[in-house]
Amino acid sequence: MKFDLDEDRALLKSSTRELLEKESPLAEARSVMESSAEGFSKPLYAQLAELGYLGLALSEEEGGSGLGPIGLAAVLHEMGRVALPGPYLDLVLATEALRELAAPEARQALRGLVGGEQRILLARSESVSGIEPATAATRFEGGRVRGRKCFVPFGASADALLVTTAQGLVLAPRPSAGWNAQPLPIVDHAQRFAEIALDTPGVLVADTPLAARRLEAVDRLGALGAAALLLGLMERALEIAVGYLMERKAFGVPIGSFQALQHRAADCLLRVESTRSAVYRAAWALEKDPEAARLLVPVAKAYAGDSGRIVTGEAIQFFGGVGYTWEYDPHIYFKRTKTLEQFYGSTRAQLESALHAAEI
């Protein structure tokens, strides 16, 4: 038995940390979140593509790195620590949707996506409440996709969209006039959601049954990825909060010496360490034991969602007044956590998946 990462993935994780600490320290990430319309650094994403990060979920035969879910979890864990802005996970999920699709357009799109020439994103949601219709109202007819999608992650700047329709999965390249997109700003100022009205040519790359299979895989990988990001976010949030508890003084002593705060910090550590166990176990299962992953991935996402909310919220409280200021960092972790808790399968949805997997 071994919980540590093997050499390749340990190297991937450490080199990812170096890269991100160099290319995307939080100060840098903050300015991207605050001032870039697209919400990410194009040069950094080009570099990520060049280094093969977009092929992480793919086998070597598919043109990927073959480092699999464990490698992806390790990378997202690091990206969470620095609150990396942008659609990295969403792009990886697009590769997960496209893989195994035979259509030449899909194969080409996958190559472009992995190579970084094409930013392709999934357009799925049709409901602002999160309660989605049983079948998409968006339709594909006569070579055109027509409908309205909301909360398309980083959709406004997409080169192509993978659109879920009643007929299946449709690949729609960006119209020359650009997308008819409206920004949907949310609590998390690092996030870029768009509502997109579609009436544009496209290609059906997966019929409904095939699309359903691919989207199930996407949902599972998305849940794992979000859980890994949450792990990095809460881990780092607790680190900076504990650092502040040590340095901040009140009544003449470091506030970290107050037992009430110590015990809450201890409960936070329990949450972070337990999330670590759950996330890597789920990643391992997705790689080695897909049947077990049906239970273990929702377990990881549900637990990471609850824990992230608790730990990053406590981080703000530990910082006190300055924790409520834009200048200090806790809110970045809190907001990103809120997005990841609610999207990529809400906690309530994950609990239901776990129950089903356990035949309850």
Binding site: V128, S129, V187, Q317, G320, Y324, W326, E327, F343
Partner: protein, 392 residues
Amino acid sequence: MDLRFTEEHERFRAELRGWLERNLERPWIEELRDPANDEDSLFEKRRAWQRKLNEAGYLGMDWPREWGGRGATAVEKAIFTEETYRLDTPPIPNVLGISLLGPALIHHGSEEQRRRFIPKMLSGEEIWCQGFSEPDAGSDLAALRTRAEPDGEHFRLHGQKVWTTFGPWADWIFVLARTDATDRYGGITFFLVPLHQKGVEVRGIRQISGESEFGEVFFDGALARREHIVGRIGEGWRIAMTVLSYERGAMSLAYPAQYDGYLADVVEGCRENGTVTRADVRERLGRLLVENEVMRANGLRNLAIIASGRAPGPEASIEKLYWSEYAKRLADAALDLLGPQAQLKVRAPHARPEMDWAYEALWCRAGTIYAGSSEIQRNIIAKRVLKLPVAG
């Protein structure tokens, strides 16, 4: 036991409701949503609303007549805040001036100070901000270090104040500053200081929600005139502590009324998305409903005690701890039950029309920090009520 309001109370409420219906153009959230507004125009709308309230005699209601009062009781003040919160009226800019400085001037100020400052404070002509907290004196307020150095008959201020609500728009600040470095409590004096002068710099503090309602005030030799000292030199701490208690009960009904509205929006959203009949949603809504009604029960009891003229005991700390921790549970539930829509910024398409959950989800995090954090409230309850021994 009698938890009904008296007939006078009900008459007051009816008259107030009538006035509000006639005078409130639209709920505050609509101003916030209006793209024509920016932080400055919003501030001016707050000022205009304060003027209206003042002309109608709804500010400083419990003060002496000559200072705009009308001999109102604590219960009437509570009804006033309850109704204004219920209707989502514009928050007035001089709220801290009126709730803290006003009583300080009336009880501890000079006749001249009252005449000079109270009318313009009530009308909103002059905006006041509070200069108590400092970067290293938050929970431990008495650790404040801002110095008032004698300069002839006057004083020069050196130091920094933070969390000065509306600092960026304020004309004056009421400041606790050290006139004696050696006496932790007795060395603190209460000054009234104009902000538009040399030696004062005001910076906005950006909140995690993006707004800059708060400010920092830096003093570098700013003039604080002797005649603008409230009470005597060295009385500042005592005055500050007493005025902090004058507002007891003012919010006792306001928060439950506000959360009624918030909760109603969650329920409405669950009706819209069809989940209001789902048992898990109902359990969540049920507890939120129950806990808000219990908060109201606490408030009524608190008011009854105040009305009976007795000094409230642990009620203030329990009230603060209760509403601020409840607000977090409520916002968490809203985001869970209403889904992505509740995360939309107030001016985004599809944002919920009657409630800005994106703001509340962040603002509720401040509630357990400002005006005595939850940790401080628990310390107070443990020591003053439960009489548990001090550590060490």
